[in-house]
């Protein structure tokens, strides 16, 4: 099987830079925003201002930054309930995301969907989906639509390692491959489903990559904690897809720093494993790389302050925003705006 391991992971070489500082700064900002957002979301959860459940992507930021950066503005993203990072990376406003988590009228979905269903069509964020695997078939459909309309858009669909064992994964990949659809499937393999290690329930070592050949696809594995590596792999796959080369399947190895959801302290993870991944924190890695490439520490600090301020500001707005009005219970089921099932 033609497996590419660590594709895109060229050693950092400031003298011969294929990415450029401007792009890197953008990617750092994306990662910072995601990281600081998750911290804030967690704080608000602990203050009981975010209800229900949230699934933080702390640790996954490089995947979001790499792909969002490789995407065209009109490309489409589909992802899972663990989707704050992707939603922000596509440019959705912080206040909309935070407002949604807090169940406010200013939320992206007016408070009706919640953290697991973030959607911002205007930013190409076609939705976070909370049933494992299902959205992969929907993403294939969006890609079919782009193919039919010849609008050159590529769909990028993120999913977890756990999703690789559900039927919809198989159906989506086969259909996409047969129809040569412009869709890039990206597995964020963080080694765990909810609390169960993926390797205990999967017949192969690499849950996504080792399935690629079943759809006639190349197996690609990338370091999901290195935004540059992700970007390189993403560019190749997206442009290949855009040019009619059909779908791609990429497995990005990463790790969530916390538990599965706010109900989970994540204590089932061996300390050594956790430590080794924390030592490879994508934010730390990326900051170091930027310094290595000659960016001034001051500039980074300024960006860090800026991002934090933006999040603070959004927090204040969302916090003081009203809840959705009661009439929204029976609104927007149908395109005409209402929810009547009878005349």
């Amino acid at each position: 099987m033609a497996k590419k391991r660590g594709s895109g992971a060229a050693p950092a070489d400031p003298a011969n830079d294929d990415i450029g500082t401007e792009t890197r700064l953008r990617m750092y900002r994306t990662q910072l925003t995601a990281r600081m957002f998750e911290k804030r979301a967690n704080d608000l959860f602990l203050q009981n201002l975010v209800k229900g459940t949230i699934h933080l992507a702390t640790g996954h930021e490089a995947v979001a930054a790499g792909f969002a950066t490789a995407m065209r503005d009109d490309d489409l993203t589909f992802c899972t309930y663990r989707g704050h990072h992707h939603t922000l990376a596509r440019g959705a406003p912080i206040v909309g995301v935070l407002g949604e988590l807090m169940g406010r009228e200013c939320g992206l979905l007016g408070g009706k969907g919640g953290s697991m269903h973030l959607t911002s069509v205007e930013h190409g964020m076609m939705g976070c989906y909370a049933i494992v695997g299902a959205h992969m078939t929907i993403a294939a459909g969006a890609a079919w639509s782009a193919q039919y309309q010849r609008n050159d858009r590529v769909t990028v669909c993120f999913f977890g390692d756990g999703a690789t064992n559900i039927g919809a994964f198989h159906e989506a990949l086969n259909l996409a491959a047969v129809w040569k659809l412009p869709v890039v499937f990206v597995c964020e393999n963080n080694l765990y489903m909810e609390y169960t290690p993926i390797h205990t329930v999967t017949a192969v070592e690499h849950p996504a990559a080792d399935r690629a050949s079943a759809y006639g696809l190349e197996a690609v594995i990338v370091d999901g904690n290195d935004a540059d590596a992700v970007l390189r792999v993403a560019r190749v796959a997206i442009e290949r897809s855009r040019d009619g080369g059909g779908p791609a399947l990429i497995e990005a190895k990463t790790y969530r720093h916390g538990g599965h959801s706010r109900a989970d302290p994540g204590t089932y993870r061996p300390k050594a494993e956790l430590d080794s991944w924390l030592a490879r924190d994508p934010l730390d890695l990326y900051r170091a790389r930027l310094l290595e490439f000659g960016v001034a520490a001051k500039a980074l600090e300024a960006m860090e302050t800026e991002v934090l301020e933006a999040i603070d500001e959004a927090t204040e707005i969302a916090r003081s925003a009203p809840p959705p009005s009661p009439d929204k219970v029976e609104a927007d089921l149908w395109a005409e705006g209402g929810a009547a099932w009878r005349n």
Binding site: K112, M126, I138, A142, S145, Y148, A168, N174
Partner: protein
């Protein structure tokens, strides 16, 4: 007016809309080259080409998932699920994704799509190929639910479903495919959410759907000639939206309601109608609301058993006789 079969009316309805709007695309198993296993889509591939009429793998989740993804990005897909029993295979996509996405996203996402499927029993196809599951769809908020009983309604309601901006589950009755009827010439578009009074009588109202409609009508005629009992017969046509105005008006006028459905006994649309009437026009009722259903069992295969299980003209006549006694 041309006389068409029920199955021809399907193809005509689809063709009419595909010709009009190139956002309409169609996918399913064996639908293109083969024209569908019920021969409902013969000629579409030839007319509209392989980009718009697509054979899929046996992947029901991918079929309706693809329809959803296409609908949310500007197309108006029609997906065929060969037998309605197989809706269960992709029920997650239908009930959890398609039905909920507009509401959950605060109206951001529109899903103008149709899922067509062959519903119902009566041909000894066995329990996994004969179910009437329109009640499954009715129970899920966010789905419109249509089930026509005549070729004209097939064409007109299918066209309306395709033009509708919301997801519609369109139940074609697989054992009505060969039935014939007049269909208006030229463009024919009906309205969702409208029931039809197809017979008027003052003694009771019989509500029926799809293959139960001709049976209800025949029973009503027999009751009239043999017993002098005059029934109003309502062809519901659409379960969501439900034309409660027409239905309750008939019930109020006649004072009695009998429902005739292929759904198994529990939680069918007959129960819903009974509950609505028992709440909203209780004081107009002259007697119990009676449901005629398939008993609460899977459909048996052998012809003798299957025809006992499905509501029959005899059973309707006898039940009404007891009811109005």
């Amino acid at each position: 007016m041309a006389e068409l079969t029920y199955r021809e009316a399907v193809a005509e309805g689809i063709a009419q809309e595909m010709a009009r709007d190139d956002r309409v695309v169609f996918l399913g198993e064996d639908v293109a080259a083969a024209g569908g296993v019920f021969k409902t889509t013969v000629g579409l591939l030839e007319k509209f080409g392989p980009d718009r009429v697509k054979d899929t793998p046996i992947s029901e989740q991918a079929i309706v998932g693809a329809a959803m993804g296409a609908a949310m990005t500007g197309l108006r897909p029609i997906a065929e699920i060969m037998f309605s029993d197989f809706l269960a295979v992709c029920w997650d996509l239908i009930a959890n994704e398609i039905a909920k996405t507009r509401y959950m996203t605060g109206g951001q996402v529109s899903l103008p799509l149709v899922i067509r499927t062959a519903n119902g029993g009566g041909g000894s196809f066995g329990a996994q190929h004969s179910q009437s599951v329109e009640n499954w769809a009715m129970a899920v908020p966010g789905l419109k639910v249509v089930a026509p009983s005549t070729p004209a309604d097939v064409k007109g309601l299918l066209a309306a479903a395709i033009r509708d901006p919301d997801p519609v589950i369109f139940f074609e009755h697989k054992f009505m495919m060969a039935t014939k009827g007049d269909v208006p010439d030229g463009e024919h578009v009906d309205r969702l959410g409208t029931a039809k009074i197809i017979r008027e009588g003052s003694d009771l109202t019989i509500a029926a759907l799809a293959a139960m409609v001709p049976k209800a009508l025949e029973a009503a005629d027999r009751l009239s000639s043999e017993d002098g009992v005059q029934a109003t017969v309502v062809d519901l046509r659409s379960l969501v939206p439900l034309d409660t105005a027409t239905i309750l008006d008939a019930v109020r006028k006649t004072g009695r309601l009998v429902t005739v459905e292929e759904n198994p006994r529990l939680c069918g649309w007959g129960a819903e109608l009974a509950a609505i009437a028992a709440e909203e026009c209780f004081f107009d009722l002259d007697g119990p609301i009676v449901r005629i259903t398939t008993p609460h069992v899977p459909l048996p295969c052998a012809g003798e058993l299957e025809s006992l299980a499905l509501p029959s003209v005899d059973r309707i006549v006898e039940t009404v006789r007891k009811t109005v006694d």
